[in-house]
Symmetry: C2
Subunit: 317 residues, 2 copies
């Protein structure tokens, strides 16, 4: 299966994950109406893939207890694909009943991260995901497998690309429609992106791959460039850079959607997104949360935004 979309080789799809990945980490619970308003603004800006929420236990993550209401409440412009995470079959049933278009499941590439995240071994996680794949197949909905810490683990360090390949093959065996490689703590590098993609494709040649980078060490966009060079055409990002890096206080997490779109557009990729509208959403989310977000283009403006000459002092010398 080609990873170049039907729209042509210069088209890139961007999956917005901020309302799931970002909002689940906020200590304050965002009102449901505000979540819906923000998702609608994101789709109005042209985004056509939204990872809207996660059907986790409301007791475990009260921030996302309104998952079904959010999915029910958002506008559905033509072509919109609403994704949601499901950590277990019960969550998947709720997600499918709520009307999501694609169900995303996840595990970690390292044993220690998988245990810290879901308190089971990787093999136990794989067994637990198979019934979710069945539920999706029965419902005729795509099933997406996400691999956390795919480029390195904060506890164990390097993750061998062959291990990521093994998990990719397992997802392919379950009939997954797409694989997401998550750089959960921002440790991917361009060379590692290339070698990991090689291993994944050797193990699961027909499985389309999406990449999800964190900008923790400033490397998100150079890693996106490495993914593009290797033929990847789907990338995940978060409005304003919402969503943190849990192992370094104050460090940047998800690459911001505005920064990603700005980069892609400047490099000649079609995204279908209105960048200025997207920046307005990022600033709106910043006001909603009452704290500064790490997005950079939302602050500096796109590269072609001009400044008044009058009164300017440059002081280069």
């Amino acid at each position: 299966m080609s990873q170049v979309s039907a729209d042509g080789p210069r088209r890139v799809e961007v999956v917005e994950v901020g309302t799931r990945d970002g909002f689940q980490m906020e200590t304050a619970v965002i009102p449901t109406a505000e979540k819906i308003r923000i998702i609608d603004a994101l789709t109005a800006a042209g985004l056509r893939r939204i990872e809207a929420t996660s059907f986790v236990s409301p007791r475990a993550v009260p921030q996302l207890a309104d998952a079904a209401e959010v999915v029910a409440g958002i506008a559905r412009p033509a072509g919109l694909v609403v994704e949601a995470l499901a950590p277990n079959p019960k969550g998947a049933e709720r997600a499918l009943a709520a009307g999501v278009d694609e169900v995303v499941v996840f595990l970690s590439a390292s044993e220690s991260h998988n245990r810290a995240n879901v308190n089971r071994s990787i093999d136990a996680s794989l067994e637990g995901l198979a019934p979710i794949a069945e539920l999706c197949r029965a419902a005729g909905k795509p099933f997406v497998g996400a691999i956390a810490v795919a480029f390195g683990c904060p506890f164990e360090g390097d993750v061998p690309p062959a291990q990521v390949g093994r998990l990719a093959a397992a997802f392919a065996g379950m009939g997954a429609d797409r694989l997401v490689l998550g750089d959960t703590t921002g440790v991917a590098t361009p060379r590692l992106v290339a070698s990991t993609l090689d291993a994944v494709r050797a193990a699961a040649p027909d499985l389309p791959v999406a990449l999800h980078f964190h900008n923790t060490r400033g490397l998100a966009l150079v890693n996106v460039q490495a993914g593009l060079a290797a033929g990847v055409r789907i990338f995940e990002s978060s409005i304003g850079g919402l969503g943190g890096c849990p192992f370094a206080p104050g460090a940047t997490g998800n690459v911001s959607t505005e920064d990603l779109i700005h980069f892609l557009q400047q490099e000649g990729w079609e995204t279908g997104v209105d960048l200025e509208a997207l920046i307005a959403v990022a600033l709106d989310v910043e006001r909603l949360l009452g704290r500064r977000l790490p997005g950079q283009v939302m602050r500096a403006g796109p590269r072609d935004r001009l400044h008044p000459l009058e009164g300017a002092r440059c002081a280069v010398g």
Copy 2:
């Protein structure tokens, strides 16, 4: 002249500009002894090119009135190249008398930025730089020509690569030993880096080129990657990301030296720098200035820094 250094094709040189570019923008004047202590810590970490200061008028920029004392006071480990900016012949005379190894002059690629910065036309700037080139030649010291806003101007927008080529040829005609292309407001993109380097090399084939990127829109390292791919082996950066972006309050300026070194080392380039020692200097500068700097690796740590598993909660799902 090859741009691959004598040390081999995987060697990259990094020029630290923070003590010049960063300190000149601080409202507080940094004590001379602190400047010397920081430069010495940077060279102890392995950096071998330091743009230490600028020999500007002490009245115009009191922050750098101690330029000669700084150059006289720093340690000179083997191989260290001390660079300094000189905006005019008087500054160049002071720089050479103070014992700098290389003199850096500058102009802007756009007329409006050149006027806003030095209140003259580009051609008038070029005329004014010729005597500095003569002073350097007479002193037997290299002469470096820096072009500000080489990838776009905050007032005019796009700068044609041919215009940068014209200025490169002018510097080559003055006998410059190196050209620096400065991305003063962070508007460079990988494609623009490639096309601008093409134009510069067509106009001045024998002039080595260094690149100086700002991370204003998150693009610094992907632009470095583009420069590396085009054969550039000298990059400028600033410890901690010191030095601002004068046109967007709160926006990031210079790419930080730690982030650049971390990236280069991960991609297999030799830099001769001890990254952990460099991070310690960045944290020291942050304490000295009493405000948060934009460097990312100084906050998150290098990618291979491990975290304790005990008590960790990940909450990916």
